[in-house]
């Protein structure tokens, strides 16, 4: 079986490879800080395997993570100058290869989707070929490897390590944002352990005027929205807001249809995900990936959809869920 840990090791190996490239680059302005950051991040991916299995202490990894944060936020992490193809060179290549360039780009989603769909029948003996709990992740990693192989076969670069050199360029433009989604997940866990959720739930139910259905619907939906903005995802917000308002007030009090109340409540939370830097993998990593001037440019583009959609969700819940 291809375990999801193999995928994490692949990512770890990539980080270590990029770190070595940076260490070998004498012209890099932050040569040692940057290679230390990416190298340590790679080692954390390996070490995590044993932390997850419960056979290694988590606090050592905790210290390493804090070192990463210090490296990234004290200016020790920086961008190298990369020799890549220039605009005219790329145009010449584009003329030469034409639409063949799309083949590797389409191999990735195609292989991924085929593997995800075929996973239930890909069984050797009694063991599934792909880790059944993480089929998508494993399929995506295999798709990524297959796409690199296809790209090498079609484009035949002089140096077969071109994918690694070129991806280092993209990685360095993402920079510290690459670590942020994982840090935010940790923050969510700490928030929950410390009881932030219960405190917000108490606040929200305290705000609610008794006996008004529309007020209940608004506080539940807006609460899901705001709490998702704070936590970065609707999954953390849902149990809290549902325990505070969704279940006791809307379902038990006003006899709302639970399927409608909860489905739409979650979607009100998704509107919050569109508006928050806390959802870094959706909102901040893309602006880094696209090399945008304004880190919050993706959020700016989405707010105009999120707010009216929140209002639509409130209306839908009010008119559909209560008969």
């Amino acid at each position: 079986m291809i375990n999801v840990e193999a995928v994490y090791w692949l990512i770890g190996i990539l980080f270590v490879a990029w770190a070595s490239l940076i260490a070998a680059d004498a012209n890099h302005p932050r040569r040692w800080g940057s290679s230390a950051f990416w190298g340590l991040l790679g080692l954390c991916f390996f070490y995590s395997t044993w932390v997850q299995a419960g056979t290694a202490p988590g606090w050592i990894l905790g210290i390493a993570v804090l070192v990463l944060v210090v490296l990234a936020s004290t200016g020790l992490l920086g961008h190298g100058k990369h020799r890549t193809t220039t605009g005219p060179e790329r145009e010449a290549f584009a003329k030469r290869f034409g639409n063949k360039l799309f083949i590797p780009a389409l191999t990735l989603p195609l292989v991924t989707v085929i593997l995800v769909l075929a996973a239930p029948v890909l069984v050797i003996g009694r063991t599934p070929l792909l880790d059944p709990k993480n089929t998508t992740l494993v399929a995506l990693a295999i798709g990524a490897v297959a796409a690199v192989v296809v790209a090498l076969l079609i484009l035949k670069p002089k140096n077969p390590a071109t994918p690694i050199f070129e991806s280092r360029r993209i990685l360095e433009s993402i920079g510290w944002a690459a670590l942020l989604p994982q840090m935010l997940t940790t923050l969510g866990i700490l928030f929950t352990k410390a009881g932030v959720g219960t405190a917000v739930g108490t606040l929200a139910s305290g705000l609610l005027p008794k006996g008004s259905l529309i007020a209940g619907v608004i506080v539940y939906c807006v609460g899901m929205f705001l709490f998702t903005v704070l936590m970065g995802n609707g999954f953390a917000a849902f149990p809290i807001m549902t325990a505070a308002i969704g279940w006791p007030v809307l379902v038990q009090g006003f006899h709302g249809d639970p399927a409608i109340v909860f489905a739409i409540g979650m979607l009100a939370g998704f509107c919050g995900t569109l508006c928050t830097p806390m959802a870094a993998n959706f909102n901040l990593v893309p602006s880094a990936l696209l090399e945008m001037e304004n880190k919050y440019g993706v959020i700016t583009a989405q707010v105009g959809t999120a707010i009216p959609l929140l209002a639509v969700n409130i209306g839908l819940m009010y008119f559909l869920a209560f008969h």
Partner: protein, 237 residues
């Protein structure tokens, strides 16, 4: 209520634009201390939190292939291809992507796209290519706006598409939480069904905004040309 100080730290930290990594780390430590955890437990939480959340960093595995095809001019080819289609504008390219993303996510194929695998190498260059065909030149400000909306179309499409599919994380979270806590028996299919009205509304609202995006870009380009003319006139004097 004291633990909410951590939340406040996050809001203030992001508002004054400190490095988010520092903001998040400090807020986490402060919240944990207020919640009564000791330093050893806090370090342990940072470690296990990192180990358990490695899946969000999966986009890194896609970078090598994106790197090599960009090296050989994929973005340029995407622009050339779009440039041949006269009727396509940036907004219409993005509406098309929004529709594809939403429909594929609704049938469970949300791994088909993403910011690293489709938005950067394909969607943004196509949308920018359409703008290039229309204006002949894409100023930085317009390019920036197209970037934001390219990522936005991906997010809106996948968020409000995937919830129509029964076996997605958010639906399963609802059923497991509600069924164990309140002893209900909600069918994932019922929840998925009631996600459809919002999915349609999301497409209409976002699609409408993308249509208007073309007009906004037109306007911004006219302003850009005006200031460029004024500047060159100023130099002539």
């Amino acid at each position: 209520m004291l633990v909410l100080i951590g939340v406040l730290l996050v809001i203030v930290g992001f508002a004054i634009r400190l490095n988010p990594l520092i903001v998040v780390t400090v807020a986490g430590i402060v919240t944990a201390l207020l919640g009564g955890m000791n330093p050893a437990q806090i370090l342990d939480s940072f470690g296990t939190g990192f180990a358990n959340s490695r899946s969000v960093t999966i986009f890194v595995a896609v970078l090598p292939v994106v790197g090599i095809i960009e090296f050989f001019g994929l973005q340029e080819q995407a622009k050339i291809l779009i440039g041949r289609l006269a009727k396509l504008t940036a907004g219409r390219v993005l509406i098309g992507y929004l529709a594809v993303r939403q429909i594929t996510a609704a049938v469970g194929l949300n791994s088909i796209g993403g910011h690293a695998q489709t938005v950067r190498p394909l969607v943004f260059p196509m949308a920018e290519g359409a703008a290039l065909r229309r204006y002949g030149h894409v100023p930085e400000k317009i390019s920036e706006k197209i970037k934001g909306h390219s990522a936005g179309a991906d997010n809106v499409g996948v968020f409000f598409g995937e919830d129509v599919f029964v076996a997605v994380g958010s639906i399963l979270l609802i059923t497991t939480f509600v069924d164990t806590t309140y002893h209900l028996h909600l069918e994932p299919l019922q929840l998925a069904l009631w996600a459809i009205p919002t999915a349609i509304a999301a497409f209409l609202i976002h699609g409408f905004r993308l249509l208007r995006l073309d007009k906004q870009l037109d306007k911004e380009y006219r302003e850009y040309e005006l200031t460029a003319q004024k500047e060159s006139a100023g130099e002539a004097k």
